[in-house]
């Protein structure tokens, strides 16, 4: 019989707040994520085939009509929904919710039915159509803390779980801002805030209650762990 290991983890509930007023759509988060998480290079053909893998992407859309038109940016990553639609449809428990509020993807268990990808309204889940390859000179830059995914399985944003694990090793309670996921760290305008939502004094908890805060596709009831702060135009 399987034995359950005692839960030694500290009281964490990871969450993120993205301030759209600060986001300039520069895509630094996309590149940082790519480097940190061993994501294969997305060349032109990957985009043309619709098979580019981006754990975080910047959605650009237009608001208003010409000439009074504004470009808006929305960085979209896995929302780590508390009521995640992807989890209940996986036949092999390759994706489940852990006790830190993370929606976890177990690569070894995934058989690639891709139902989770269909059921994710945020399009945050991505499928490995090919075996990932890197140019020879980039082989040594792969992050040793992150699994290189094989073909035939789903993958998605993990909130940089390798950094979470490293900081919380041994059930340690983490101080606020002791570490950040790669995208948050790379953001030049400090638009993204990451932290422990169970700590009421953390930066992310304070922003969580902001009056501009909303969740994307809230009507679906997925209850994401990512909130966005609405952009407010000064001269609107």
């Amino acid at each position: 019989m399987a034995t359950r290991t005692q839960n030694t983890r500290a009281n964490h509930k990871w969450g993120m707040v993205i301030d759209l007023d600060r986001c300039s759509g520069c895509q630094a988060c996309v590149i940082a994520c790519q480097a940190e998480n061993n994501i294969p290079l997305n060349d032109q053909s990957a985009f043309l085939d619709g098979r580019a893998i981006e754990w975080i992407r910047v959605e650009r859309y237009w608001e208003g009509d010409y000439p009074d038109i504004k470009a808006r940016f929305l960085p979209v990553l896995c929302q780590h929904c508390d009521n995640a639609p992807c989890e209940s449809v996986c036949p092999v428990y390759a994706t489940y919710h852990n006790n830190e509020g993370l929606n976890v993807q177990v690569y070894n268990r995934c058989v690639g039915t891709r139902f989770c990808g269909n059921n994710c309204p945020y399009h945050a889940r991505l499928f490995n159509y090919w075996e990932p390859v890197w140019p020879e000179e980039l082989r040594n830059q792969l992050n040793p803390d992150v699994t290189v995914r094989t073909r035939g399985i789903m993958e998605k944003c993990t909130f940089c779980i390798q950094r979470i694990r490293r900081s919380t090793r041994g059930g340690k309670q983490v101080e606020d801002q002791a570490f950040n996921p790669a995208c948050v760290q790379a953001c030049p305008t400090d638009a993204m805030t990451f932290g422990n939502l169970n700590d009421p004094d953390s930066r992310v908890s304070r922003k969580w209650e902001d009056e501009r805060a909303y969740r994307v596709l809230e009507g679906l009831g997925t209850n994401p762990s990512v909130k966005y702060l609405k952009q407010v135009d000064a001269h609107a």
């Binding site: 359950r4 085939d49 058989v111 690639g112 139902f115 309204p121 499928f127």
Partner: protein, 457 residues
């Protein structure tokens, strides 16, 4: 009222066992061609396993394509079996007799083929077994019973098991007939398969009871299998899949395509195996009348599906329906689908002359299945293309050569399996035919000979 065609027992034996007892040249040729196509599809699958799913036309928002369409299609075809054999048997429709076994066998082979589809479609087919069978107990990892993808194999394996039992139970008396007419090792094999059948009254009684019991037990499966398959879509969050009408809509659609496939099969069988004495115009006529009802019920549910979407006017759902109805190539496919699966065949079936023409029925029944394949495609792909209000998804799905090969291969596989089955077992149940004959035989009452109509046809 049917024509009464009197066939002697010897004639029934001779004509129905013709292909079983000797091997005609055309059979060898057709089987080799089909075998080649299946081998081609197998190599396409090998190529895909070797290269990865990148060789399909699937892309980021469209995770399900031709394979899942094909899965739904074959499960749909399999619904003919339970419809024809169980429902018509229980309702004692006499005209079912020549088609029960062909329909049931097609069910079994269609289900096997449909089970192959999720296997082909999965990203890592070599690890798929713990999807259904939890082998690594030590780690405490079990299949997630909340997932419709666990309900699917459960439903389909139940159906496959009961259908196989059904085919076998009905086959036993015929196996004994073949046993008595073969020699050498064949006699041994058929002898084992026939389970010591001698045709004594007790055996007949038990066989009859088993048939009725299985028919009755299979009835819930009739409702459950395609309902469960439809919940793959119904329980998801994808706009236009997330509807309650899907279960009955899928079930009746499955009967529509399945019974049409039986018509196609009957006509081809009649031509190839020279079964003119057994499959009559009246049989096809009766199935066509059944089809009119089924098709119209199906159209009603299709209409409900559309109306529910229009009623809600939910933005994302309207976007999906707009894509399906008005944007090429989907608008063209939609037109072909609705014209092929209802607008052309059903009004034609209103005419007695069409219902009794094998040529017309062959083409209209094939048409229905082309339409029904498109129906499943139109349900699946456009919904995924417009799943969310994101900007990067405005591309379409184009099936690759590998996918098309595998679809063609799956059709060839079902036909091949049916051809192989027909070599070893009669496609029309001999004992059912003889029983049918007995019910309409002449009887002598005093010095008069009168037709004994024990059962109304």
């Amino acid at each position: 009222m049917y024509y009464r065609r009197t066939l002697t027992d010897a004639q029934i034996n001779r004509e129905l066992l013709d292909v079983v007892l000797r091997t005609p040249m055309w059979w060898v040729i057709i089987v080799s061609i089909l075998g080649l196509i299946v081998a081609g599809a197998a190599s396409a699958f090998g190529f895909m396993m070797n290269q990865g799913l990148g060789v399909t036309g699937l892309q980021q928002p469209i995770f399900w394509g031709f394979f899942i369409t094909n899965f739904i299609f074959w499960v749909g075809i399999s619904h003919a079996g339970v419809m024809i054999s169980a429902i018509l048997r229980l309702s004692q429709a006499e005209w079912r007799r020549p088609m029960v076994r062909a329909a049931e066998t097609m069910t079994v082979f269609a289900l096997m083929t449909s089970l192959l589809q999720p296997l082909i479609h999965a990203g890592r087919p070599w690890r798929i077994f713990y999807w259904v069978f939890p082998y690594d107990w030590a780690r405490g990892i079990w299949p997630d019973v909340r997932s419709p993808l666990v309900w699917d194999p459960t439903a389909i394996i139940t159906y496959l098991t009961s259908s196989t039992l059904f085919v076998y139970t009905a086959l036993i008396p015929d196996l004994a007939i073949i046993r008595d007419r073969s020699t050498g090792w064949r006699r041994t094999v058929y002898g084992i398969l026939a389970l010591g059948w001698h045709g004594n009254p007790r055996q007949w009684k038990l066989q009859g009871i088993a048939g009725i019991l299985l028919s009755a037990l299979i009835l819930p499966v009739f409702v459950s299998v395609h309902s469960i398959v439809s919940w793959d879509f119904g329980v998801s969050l994808v706009p236009s899949w997330h509807v309650t009408v899907f279960a009955p809509y899928f079930v009746i659609g499955a009967v529509h395509s399945g019974v049409s496939a039986v018509v196609t099969l009957m006509i081809l069988m009649r031509k190839l195996y020279k079964l003119e004495n057994f499959i009559w115009e009246e049989h096809i006529d009766a199935v066509a009348r059944l089809l009119i009802v089924v098709a119209t019920a199906w159209l009603f549910f299709f209409w409900l599906d559309l109306v529910f979407a229009l009623w809600l006017r939910e933005e994302q759902e309207m976007t999906v329906w707009h894509l399906r109805l008005f944007e090429p190539p989907w608008s063209w496919l939609f037109l072909v689908f609705i014209v092929f699966s209802y607008i052309i065949p059903v009004p034609l079936w209103m005419f007695r002359r069409v219902r009794r023409s094998f040529t017309w029925m062959l083409w209209t029944s094939l048409m229905v299945n082309v339409g029904m394949f498109l129906e499943r495609l139109i349900i699946i792909v456009p919904a995924l293309m417009r799943k969310g209000p994101w900007t990067f998804t405005y591309d379409t799905y184009r099936p690759s050569a590998v996918e098309v090969t595998l679809i063609v291969g799956s059709i060839a596989l079902v036909v091949l399996l049916l051809m192989l089955f027909s070599k070893f077992f009669p496609l029309i149940p001999i004992w059912e035919e003889k029983e049918g004959q007995k019910l309409i035989d002449d009887v002598r009452v005093g010095d008069r000979v009168i037709p004994a109509l024990v059962k109304e046809h």
